[in-house]
């Protein structure tokens, strides 16, 4: 290892320890059952979550929709949507991608896959019991922590299995470089249980007193995005981008800076959800400052990814994985800039309590994280089932329905939220004005939900075909177009 330059050691493809394709196939095969279990269940919850979201969206303009029943009231459907997509879809997809990346980057075949299979079963049981509990009215209505206290222990058991497995994998990894994706995975797998345990103990199991609950609530809710989904998403982007275009990451040092500044600043962001709220001023100020400091990790990662991609943007024309991943990585920059701007108090004045925040949340969780997960799943699944995606046209449909759907959704909520906020602020405007401003945008958002649901149905059909190994004759990977000859040489499609 000593003779290697840092830069060359940084690209998994240039590492002298890089596996030959036979070893790689063996590692991939070892992850098959647990990873497919996580992916399959995640896609199931994605469909359920999209439906719940669609119903909640239309209820905001049509309160008579499915009204008068306890299980379908807006205040239960909305948290059921959130928890289904957060824990059922996003976390499970992230764990699946994380497991596969971990095995690849530790360069060892997955051991103790029974642990992970048990984890997948428990995780899904926890989500199921939790979401049914929310619909039955057992939630404490603490945002992002609605899963009732009797279901969270099931999720903890699942997580404990994953945590133990992670430690085993790191113990038995092949000697050599620890790649940037592994730092992010390692951190995310450590932060999540700490975050989730703290918040559940202090807010659900043995609730603390007073407005301190709000502080813990938003410390958790912002960090689950920043310190769980963000590192999982970045770990995947840091792996997929260089892998598909066959080039090393632009700068090792930028990766270090991006990682540590994220760890330091992101964890302090949460209180910007409570500007003007019942808290000591310093707590809110600290979060506002930390939110603005987020420009550092975000710009760092953006430069690093952009410089890696430079000269290879043509590959977006043919690689589904790259197209989804780069869409997600670019959205990460946009959503983070937006988030920092939203924390500036003079602007926050106008967007606090409005749909603007909902738009921002969807841009982050969908435009960034979910798109990166789609990209990773398109890369990983053919390597697990030994079958190529049956239809490039359907992947293209999936991409454009998702991209256009989320674009319309976020655009509508962002604009509608600003108008709504102006009405909140204007002393001459009545409450009705704020509602009248928001309504047309909410209808557009409701329509965009159909596009996203359509995208997910297409994706679910493709995934099912892969599991059953049916579809077109397999003469090569499903690509949007034919890569050029030099691209073909380096690329791993």
């Amino acid at each position: 290892m000593k003779s290697q330059s840092l830069i060359s050691s940084f690209n998994p493809a240039n590492d002298p320890n890089t596996l030959d394709s036979y070893e790689r196939a063996e590692i991939d095969a070892s992850t098959r059952v647990p990873v497919l279990l996580f992916f399959g269940s995640a896609i199931f919850w994605l469909l359920i979550g999209s439906l719940l979201g669609l119903v909640a969206a239309w209820k905001m303009t049509h309160p008579a929709l499915l009204d008068g029943m306890a299980w379908t009231t807006f205040g239960r459907i909305r948290p059921a949507h959130l928890n289904t997509v957060i824990y059922g879809w996003a976390s499970a997809a992230g764990i699946g991608v994380g497991i596969w990346l971990m095995a690849r980057l530790c360069r060892v075949a997955l051991v103790h896959s029974k642990l992970l299979i048990a984890a997948a079963i428990f995780w899904n049981l926890g989500v199921l019991v939790g979401v049914l509990g929310i619909l039955a009215g057992d939630s404490r209505s603490i945002e992002w922590l609605e899963i009732p206290g009797y279901a969270t222990p099931i999720l903890f058991v699942a997580y404990a299995f994953i945590g133990i497995w992670t430690i085993i994998m790191f113990r038995f990894r092949k000697p050599g470089h620890v790649y940037v994706s592994q730092w992010y995975l390692f951190a995310a797998f450590l932060w999540f249980p700490w975050l989730y345990a703290t918040a559940n103990i202090l807010l659900v199991w043995s609730p603390i007193q007073g407005s301190a609950q709000g502080a813990v609530n938003w410390w958790f809710a912002h960090n689950i995005l920043g310190l769980w989904f963000t590192p999982l998403g970045l770990a995947s982007a840091y792996y997929m981008i260089p892998k598909v275009i066959g080039r090393p990451i632009h700068s090792y040092y930028l990766s270090i800076l991006g990682f540590w500044s994220l760890a330091l600043f992101y964890s302090w962001n949460g209180m910007h959800h409570l500007i003007g709220g019942p808290f000591p001023a310093w707590m809110v100020s600290a979060s506002v400052v930390a939110s603005i400091m987020m420009f550092i990790p975000v710009i760092t990662v953006a430069i690093n990814h952009h410089m890696t991609m430079r000269g290879n943007f043509g590959a977006l024309k043919w690689s589904p994985t790259l197209r989804f991943t780069v869409f997600g990585a670019m959205t990460y920059t946009i959503v983070s800039f937006q988030g920092s701007s939203m924390a500036i108090p003079s602007w926050n004045t106008f967007i606090h309590f409005t749909d603007h925040t909902i738009g921002h949340a969807h841009l982050g969780l969908y435009g960034f994280f979910t798109m990166i997960m789609f990209g990773a799943i398109y890369y990983i699944v053919p390597r697990l089932v030994g079958w190529e995606w049956p239809s490039a046209t359907m992947i293209r449909w999936h991409f454009w329905l998702s991209a256009i759907g989320i674009g319309i959704m976020v655009g509508a909520l962002t604009l509608g939220g600003i108008l709504q906020g102006f009405a909140f602020y204007d002393p001459a405007a009545t409450f009705r004005t704020s509602l009248e401003y928001a309504t047309p945008f909410r209808i557009i958002r409701g329509l965009s939900g159909f596009l996203l649901l359509g995208a997910h149905v297409v994706f679910a059909i493709l995934f099912t075909q892969m599991l059953l190994r049916i579809g077109r004759p397999q003469e090569g990977p499903a690509l949007f177009a034919t890569p050029t000859e030099p691209e073909k040489e380096v690329a791993a499609v």
Partner: protein, 209 residues
């Protein structure tokens, strides 16, 4: 960065800093705050909640009221809440001592409820509004909470607590009445208890221009 123990240490310390600042600190300060004795009456600020109101929080949570209704009055220039009559003063940490959970809220799809008990103290109004919001406010997007009420035939005399004034499409036909369940009674008791208008030294009432 090949040394896992170092990565672990850094990851641990950066996260611990926010855990201390945004979790442990508020838990030890805001979480241990005491109510203020009221010398005139011998009571406390915030006043103790009735058992029914305490139970009402559970119903408020179960039906997700917090997703549309905040309970925070904020000062100018961050907001025009006080000018708009959401409350006479800013809500501060002490206002939430007895709240379990503290429904601060992050959305105002519906109006702020910090002082709904002061604005609208009429029990029947709340029952009617929960049962058929659109007959009170035609443009409201609040979902009806009919599942918190029972429609039953009137036996002999009408019940004392039957909801009066119902006139929407789910109003009881003649010979029937709509009565609140225990959940509805608790929820309304809680809503009426929401009055953050008592004096607190740390939150003086700002003068209105």
């Amino acid at each position: 960065m090949n040394k896992l123990p170092l990565i672990f240490l850094g990851v641990f310390i950066t996260f611990a800093s926010s855990w201390i600042g945004l979790v442990a600190y508020p838990f030890l300060t805001l979480g241990k705050m005491e109510p203020l004795p009221d010398e005139d009456t011998g009571g406390y600020f915030p006043p103790a909640m009735s058992g029914l109101a305490v139970a009402g929080q559970r119903v408020y949570a179960a039906n997700g009221c917090v997703y549309c209704h905040s309970q925070q009055v904020r000062l100018a220039p961050l907001s025009t809440d006080i000018k708009k009559g959401l409350g006479p003063r800013q809500t501060v940490a002490r206002d939430y001592l007895r709240a379990q959970p503290a429904f601060l809220g992050t959305m105002r799809t519906g109006p702020d409820l910090s002082n709904i008990g002061a604005r609208q103290p009429d029990v029947n109004w709340h029952h009617q509004h929960l049962y058929e919001p659109q007959t009170i406010t035609s443009w409201s997007v609040m979902p009806p909470f009919r599942h918190l009420y029972k429609m039953q035939p009137i036996e002999g005399q009408a019940s004392d607590n039957a909801v009066k004034g119902l006139k929407g499409s789910y109003a009881p036909p003649s010979g029937y009445e709509v009565v609140p369940t225990d959940d509805a009674k608790a929820l309304v008791a809680y809503l009426i208890s929401l009055k953050r208008n008592f004096p607190l030294p740390e939150s003086p009432e700002p003068a209105l221009e």
